[in-house]
Amino acid sequence: MLTLSTQLNTYLVIGAVLFGFGIFGLVRRPSLIGMLIAVELVLSGASINFMAFNRFLAPDPTVGQIITLFIMAIAAAEAAISLSIVIAVYRNYKSIEVEDLVELKG
């Protein structure tokens, strides 16, 4: 039990569980910001997988760390853009619930 941190499977299962929590939140959340939070969970599950493979299996152990840094940069850009879209949507519809945003050509 105490040697879990030296096994690849532990990290892969943690990544899979985080990914599953992200999908769970993505389906369950009725609001746009809640879905964005769930997407961040999905991205961090993927990052954990990259880091675990990088530590245990990669011939060149810088690749996974660099990919994780790039994932962080993309996630930050995505959060900034989507939050400004959410604020613009809120200004027009007075709501950020997905079910209220059904009108096209607004």
Partner: protein, 176 residues
Amino acid sequence: MNPSLFSPEGLAGVIFLILICVTMIGAIIATCTKRLIRSVSGLAVCFVGVAGLYYFLSSPFVAMMELLIYVGAVCVTIAFAIMLAEPDEAKMARKLSGLSGGLAAVCGGAVSFALGYAAVNGHWMAPAVQANDGSLKMIGQSLLTKYSMVFELISIVLLVAIIGSVALARAGRRGN
């Protein structure tokens, strides 16, 4: 094989288990609470746990970046967006039917189980030789040589994201 609880390895194992618990509790808070601001707090807790896991994966640099970027920037940005755009309480209470929750649990559970099953039963082969030790110096060298093009592209993407988010958030403002 199994270290005692009070040896350094045993204590590291205990800290690792605590980090797993922090990550999972954070993920549960982030997905299952009703108020969005609590959900963001859970996300921050989850990212602190993930940063600890990165530390155990022998890359403290990425762990520090995780704390700085996710906990320090992304969660704070989401918190500000919630302050600007959270709907009122009465509106939030009408949603969350049981069917949606059950469907979500089935989807998340299936994806998580499939990935975990594939990971545990997979046949992973360790590399024969490692090219370097994956230290911060090697990361910096390969960022500026092998991955310099991607590095520049990421900078442009971030610049475009900054300008685009300012333009988008300004667009519908009245009186301008």
